[in-house]
Symmetry: C2
Subunit: 194 residues, 2 copies
DNA sequence: AATAGATGTTAAACTAGGTTAACATCATTT
DNA sequence: AAATGATGTTAACCTAGTTTAACATCTATT
């Protein structure tokens, strides 16, 4: 495993000196998970923030009726954590489970807090990526209100063309907020429309 | 107008020295808007981040059918900006309009960027508040999927008890993602259930 | 090759929430 | 006091999406 993708990603937002890069690399912990393993479980405290170098995960929530609702998928170059749990170090609301065998770089809460003190620039880096992420969530809220299920599916396909083939359809349905049966109906409608 | 609420708010996350506080105060611009005035308009670049000291605003989006969808309300001690527009300095997707006469403390893009350099601790402050904000948005997405309209209304009432009286119901309906007629129906059902 | 488990499809009956339209109430302006 | 505009309610009818259930397909394991 190697840290190049993480360094490249960080360098899109800030520039680290050689010393800072070395310090960061010295803190890196690699971790491998198999398909179906849990990175975080609802109720546990999320102790790490992870940067995916390969694989794919889903973050989801089980509602009062036992139904699964997928909040987000993460693939290479994305971060995984239950942020609410991580920042407050209290029990997680969500599960994060691997959809494929997944390799990631993990930073524990203590490591990240230490790095913020040693490399203050990292505060800027994380501020920026979280800001971007907020914008994406806001857009998703708007889409969920103003678009029909079919339109949301088309937006999903356009925004995540490479993710669709890697994920079973019933999970995509859950992400879109519809049943797998209805997604199936939408897909057959789209085929007829061509 | 005074900056005490902002300083108190910032001090919940970081502690500023006297010099830093003074520097921050020297950059402060107060701004008053009347009810119905726009702070940001869809299509304009959002040039400021504002901290509300009094009043109430809505951030909304007009969809392809001309329908208004409210993304969030903001009141005292909350921030207002179209974050997507602000961080990239490109045209805004949303309108932000005052529901009441509103007073706020404004920071221009240039001022904030300057302050980040002069008071690096502010990066930490904003990192922390955006992290909190993301958690709230995630929860909202989950609620929108897993709760019925009636349940969402009850959660809204519980989470924002003091906001409800200040805002017309048709706006609350828009925030909840339902029509005003259906909210009206929900309310009469709730009265009958008592 | 057979079985089991996971995934995907189809269709009929149902329901949460939308649409339309008419009316009620309240506040503001003249 | 009347008129206007903004807000809220009610009810009949409609539709997007759900539920249930049966079946189809694919993959992995024995």
């Amino acid at each position: 495993m190697n840290a190049a993708p993480l360094l490249a990603y960080i360098n899109k937002y800030i520039s680290l000196t050689e010393d800072e890069t070395e310090l960061l690399l010295s803190k890196i912990v690699y971790r491998k998970y198999l398909k179906n393993q849990y990175i975080v479980q609802q109720g546990d405290v999320c102790r790490h923030e992870g940067f995916i170098t390969s694989g794919c995960t889903k973050m989801f929530y089980i509602d009062a009726n036992g139904q699964e609702h997928i909040v987000m998928f993460s693939i290479e170059d994305w971060w995984v954590s239950d942020m609410g749990s991580f920042i407050t170090q209290t029990p997680a609301d969500y599960h994060i489970q691997c959809i494929e065998n997944t390799e990631l770089i993990q930073f524990s809460y203590e490591t990240i807090e230490g790095l913020y003190l040693e490399i203050p620039k990292l505060e800027r880096f994380f501020r920026k990526i979280v800001e971007r992420s907020i914008v994406a969530f806001q857009k998703r809220i708007v889409r969920n209100f103003s678009l029909s299920a079919k339109e949301r599916y088309l937006v999903f396909k356009k925004n995540y063309p490479n993710i669709e083939q890697r994920i079973p359809q019933y999970m995509i349905a859950s992400y879109l907020g519809i049943t797998k049966e209805f997604l199936s109906k939408i897909k057959s409608q789209l085929i007829l429309e061509q």
